[in-house]
């Protein structure tokens, strides 16, 4: 049987993987801590418990129908974002470690289904005196224990593969969330730079006017320098914002596996009024999160390894064979033989205890993972709510008020009730508030991406 030397998913395979349902949904019953893999889920050799054949060179397909899940969730009709995410998840560098783990698990599964080769023994001995024939002996034997353990080994390896695939799904979710976050960062930063450029224009106009006043002898150098310091400060902020934009573009490009900094002419979308029930999202996360699926599967793997270690019980190999010897006097003796270690000193205690410790650790890890998943959901949900509230106040109240202030300031200025500096200052405040609104929108969409990841990639529609 040939195994492929390329133990990593091809990009197309990976996209299909991403579009598949989460691992837990494909099992008849999700594994609970300490639960043995049910008989119905024990797959024949070369198959995952889900029943999909795994051929060498064809790794990772989960089967199941293609559903719009992780890639489409939360992106709506934003084709730019979809393109970015698609590029990121098909960028091998982002999932290197998880892909490697899946490849190794796949190799382990193949290996687990293979029997040890029978052993052939032959010896030839020449007598030291005449009149006798050569002594020849040959035997053929197999490792009986190995044959008896194949099924269990396959089940264990299959479960480990499922766990690895679940962890891959978790990693994909993280890449998607990071890419979405990076995308919204680019959009927001572009808008912020544009707003700050307007702020600088206003401030520089004020400084220009102050300089002319100074040259005409109408203000002091102190007053002029104060104005200049203000516009220099704004210019410094703009420089930093432009740099932040550059960094954001590079970060997005790196995620997408591109050498060219990536931008877009889109703006950050408005924040919708939607709400979720935290407990319902927690339940969803516990069911769908790759890390939870993997954590639930892992005890099954170690349970299997405990059984395998117990079955070994210090016997080593249990060789069952057939031996034929022709002796020097021409007598031929034939017959079966069995060979094994006597478990006097070594009952394979070490391996058993190791497996038991790993089982216990995995059970504790399951509890810890559940706590972590719940916390991530609640934290992400709270961040979404916070950003929603901020966006609502900014968009519905503060920004309209600032806009009215500018209109009223212009009215007062036109009636010589207000100085041009105050008018420009009011306009700058309006632009700064617009910037805060963009930041709140960005925060919302980034935290929504994180919430989608936290619940396992499928965020239900909010109310």
């Amino acid at each position: 049987m040939k195994t492929s030397s390329a133990n990593f998913l091809a990009p197309s395979m990976l996209v299909a993987l991403l579009l598949a349902r989460p691992v837990a949904a494909q099992q008849n019953q999700p594994n609970q801590p300490g639960q043995q893999v049910p008989p119905g889920n024990q797959a024949p050799a070369g198959q995952t418990p889900a029943g999909q054949k795994v051929q060498p060179g064809q790794q990772g397909l989960q089967g199941g129908q293609v559903q719009p899940t992780q890639l489409q969730a939360g992106m709506g009709a934003d084709s730019g974002l979809q393109t970015a995410v698609q590029a990121a998840v098909t960028n091998y560098a982002n999932l290197q470690q998880a892909l490697a783990e899946v490849g190794l698990s796949q190799a382990d599964l193949v290996q687990a289904g293979l029997l040890k080769n029978p052993q052939f023994f032959f010896q030839f001995r020449h007598p030291d005196r005449a009149g006798l024939i050569n002594n020849t002996e040959y035997s053929v034997s197999i490792d009986l224990l190995d044959a008896l353990q194949v099924a269990l080994r396959r089940r264990v390896a299959g479960t480990a593969l499922q766990a690895a695939q679940a962890r891959l799904q978790e990693a994909v979710g993280q890449v998607i969330a990071r890419t979405q976050g990076a995308w919204y960062d680019v959009l927001a930063q572009q808008q912020i730079v544009a707003l700050e450029e307007s702020v600088l224009t206003a401030s520089q106009a004020a400084t220009d006017l102050a300089q002319r006043q100074f040259e005409a002898g109408n203000i002091s150098d102190l007053d002029y320098d104060r104005q200049k310091a203000e516009s220099d400060t704004i210019r410094l902020e703009l420089t930093q914002s432009r740099s932040d934009l550059d960094i954001a573009r590079h970060k997005l490009a790196m995620l997408m596996g591109s050498d060219t900094p990536t931008g877009s002419d889109q703006t950050v979308p408005a924040v919708p009024a939607e709400a979720w029930d935290g407990r319902a999202l927690e339940a969803l996360a516990l069911q769908n999160r790759g890390s939870m699926v993997a954590a639930r599967l892992q005890p099954g793997v170690y349970q299997g390894q405990v059984r395998l270690a117990r079955q070994q019980a210090g016997l080593g190999e249990v060789r069952l064979g057939f031996d034929r010897e022709q002796e020097t006097d021409g007598v031929t003796v034939v017959g079966p033989f069995i060979q094994f270690n006597l478990p006097i000193f070594n009952h394979n205690q070490g391996a058993i205890q190791t497996a038991q410790a790993q089982l216990q650790s995995s059970q504790l890890q399951l509890m810890a993972t559940e706590r972590t998943v719940r916390l991530e959901v609640q934290t992400a949900l709270e961040q979404v709510r916070r950003a929603q509230q901020a966006a609502a106040i900014l968009t519905n109240s503060l920004l309209p008020t600032r806009t009215r202030i500018v209109q009223l300031s212009l009215l007062h200025y036109n009636n010589m009730q207000l100085s041009v500096y105050q008018l420009l200052s009011d306009r700058q405040m309006q632009l700064e508030t617009s910037k805060m609104a963009v930041q709140a929108q960005r925060d919302y969409w980034q935290s929504r991406s994180e919430l989608t990841r936290a619940v396992g990639g499928q965020l239900p529609a909010g109310k």
């Binding site: 206003a202 106009a205 006017l209 036109n414 009730q417 041009v420």
Partner: protein, 452 residues
């Protein structure tokens, strides 16, 4: 002593009965230019009125009601004031030497008040100083003041002496005028009373700031700003008296164009004629009154205004940047991109905005109004003395039509070609300028024509 029911019925009768010797509004002029000799003419309080009275047993009975008042300082500018009998300043009280005066004061404010009769010589208990000479008049209460006018004629005032900072800043004041039993000679044909006031009313607001001490932005004659001030209409040849009262925080030099008048009275009474001071500007100190008199023998529309120039601006803001001499065209274009609708102003002075209607903040007034020739960039303490040779009434006769050849006329629109009187200067000392040729007083060099 009148009880409350009798008092109210007397007041009702007085109102229903119309004017007595005290007029409710300016007299309609008859064919006569001059007043009948002997009896003083009633006082005209432009944009105001005099307080009616009733006679009860030889007492002249007046009733003042201290209350909140809404006053339109100039069309479109409504202000929340406090005053008396629905107006600020309060109605002018006119009495004669020797009168027995009884004044009921009802308080419809929400805090206590009192009335001080500024300059009136009276019993200490009638002086109206809350806490010192009487209890404050609580909201809803009515107090009675009674005294005999035991002093020569004078222009006096009345105002609160309880929380004065607030109540006077809100407009509570009025004239108390003592007429002589026999009119002074020379007889005055028209007698005007103008109360000066200052207000701090931020743009877009309607309530004066009583805490303001120095930075006021509205200035009024009888609680009116130009163009809301009524003109002083007189017939040519009439002798005119103008009385000024000042209870503001500043003195006000009131200047009359076209005339030399005499200072004829103060809060202390009539100035002897031998001591009359000729002037064209009378400085009215805080807490004082000043009377001036002149004969209106020069027809025309004569400006009458405070000569502190900020006091003739409406809503003047005092912390605008000085942009005189600052070229703004290009930077104005830049600012316009950031603030659409912006236009530069102030580099050539403040007259740039004449006639431009770009909208106004609520409850504010234009900086200038259209006059017969151009925009009159005035407001505040500004009015017009309108002297006409023919009048059928003292209603506003409109703008004065200047006789041909008596008005300033345009000669040239080219400043460079305009004729300029020749002057001479010293080549060594350019600051030495003379209107005729000669020698430099410093160095003796011959003066040369100065290039313009």
């Amino acid at each position: 002593m009148s009880n409350r029911r009798n008092f109210l019925s007397h007041v009702g009768a007085a109102v229903a009965g119309g004017a007595l010797a005290s007029s409710l509004k300016p007299l309609e002029a008859a064919a006569a230019t001059h007043a009948a000799p002997g009896r003083p003419v009633p006082v005209v309080t432009p944009n105001g009125s005099s307080l009616p009275y009733t006679m009860e047993g030889g007492w002249k009975v007046f009733h003042l009601v201290a209350e909140p008042v809404k006053r339109e300082l100039t069309p479109g500018f409504l202000v929340n004031c406090w005053g008396y009998n629905g107006q600020t300043p309060g109605p002018t009280i006119e009495v004669f030497e020797g009168d027995k005066v009884r004044i009921f004061v009802t308080n419809k404010l929400r805090e206590k008040t009192s009335v001080h009769w500024h300059g009136v010589l009276l019993p200490n208990g009638m002086d109206g100083v809350t806490g010192l000479t009487q209890k404050g008049i609580q909201p809803g209460q009515t107090y009675r003041y009674e005294f005999v006018i035991d002093q020569p004629a004078a222009t006096l005032m009345y105002h609160p002496h309880s929380d004065e900072m607030t109540q006077m800043a809100m407009g509570m004041m009025g004239f108390f005028i003592i007429h002589p039993r026999v009119a002074y000679s020379p007889t005055v044909d028209r007698d005007f009373a103008i109360f000066l006031a200052e207000w701090d009313i931020k743009p877009g607001t309607a309530t004066p700031n009583p805490f303001q001490m120095t930075d006021f932005n509205y200035f009024t004659f009888n609680a009116k700003c130009w163009p809301g001030t009524d003109p002083l209409v007189v017939r040519q040849g009439q002798r005119v008296r103008i009385r000024y009262g000042n209870l503001t925080m500043d003195s006000h030099p009131i200047h009359l164009h076209g005339y030399v008048f005499h200072h004829t009275g103060t809060t202390g009474g009539r100035i002897p004629q031998s001591a009359w001071m000729p002037d064209d500007t009378v400085n009215v100190p805080v807490g004082s009154t000043r009377d001036i008199e002149f004969v209106a023998d020069r027809p025309g529309d004569w400006a009458l205004h405070c000569h502190k120039v900020h006091h003739t601006m409406n809503g003047m803001v005092h912390d605008l940047p000085v942009l005189l001499g600052v070229k703004q065209d290009d930077v104005g274009d830049t600012i316009n991109k950031v603030v659409p609708g912006y236009m530069p102003m102030g580099d050539n002075g403040m007259a740039d905005m004449d006639g431009m209607d770009m909208g106004r903040p609520r409850n504010t007034v234009p900086m200038a109004t259209q006059g017969p020739y151009d925009y009159i960039e005035m407001g505040g303490m500004f009015t017009v003395l309108k002297v006409r040779s023919h009048l059928t009434s003292y209603a506003d006769p409109g703008w004065y039509q200047q006789p041909h050849g008596t008005a300033a006329t345009l000669v040239s629109s080219d400043a460079e070609a305009a004729p300029v009187a020749e002057t001479f200067t010293c080549p060594m000392h350019p600051d030495v300028v003379s209107t005729h040729p000669g020698k430099c007083p410093r160095c003796g060099m011959t003066l040369v024509p100065r290039k313009h």
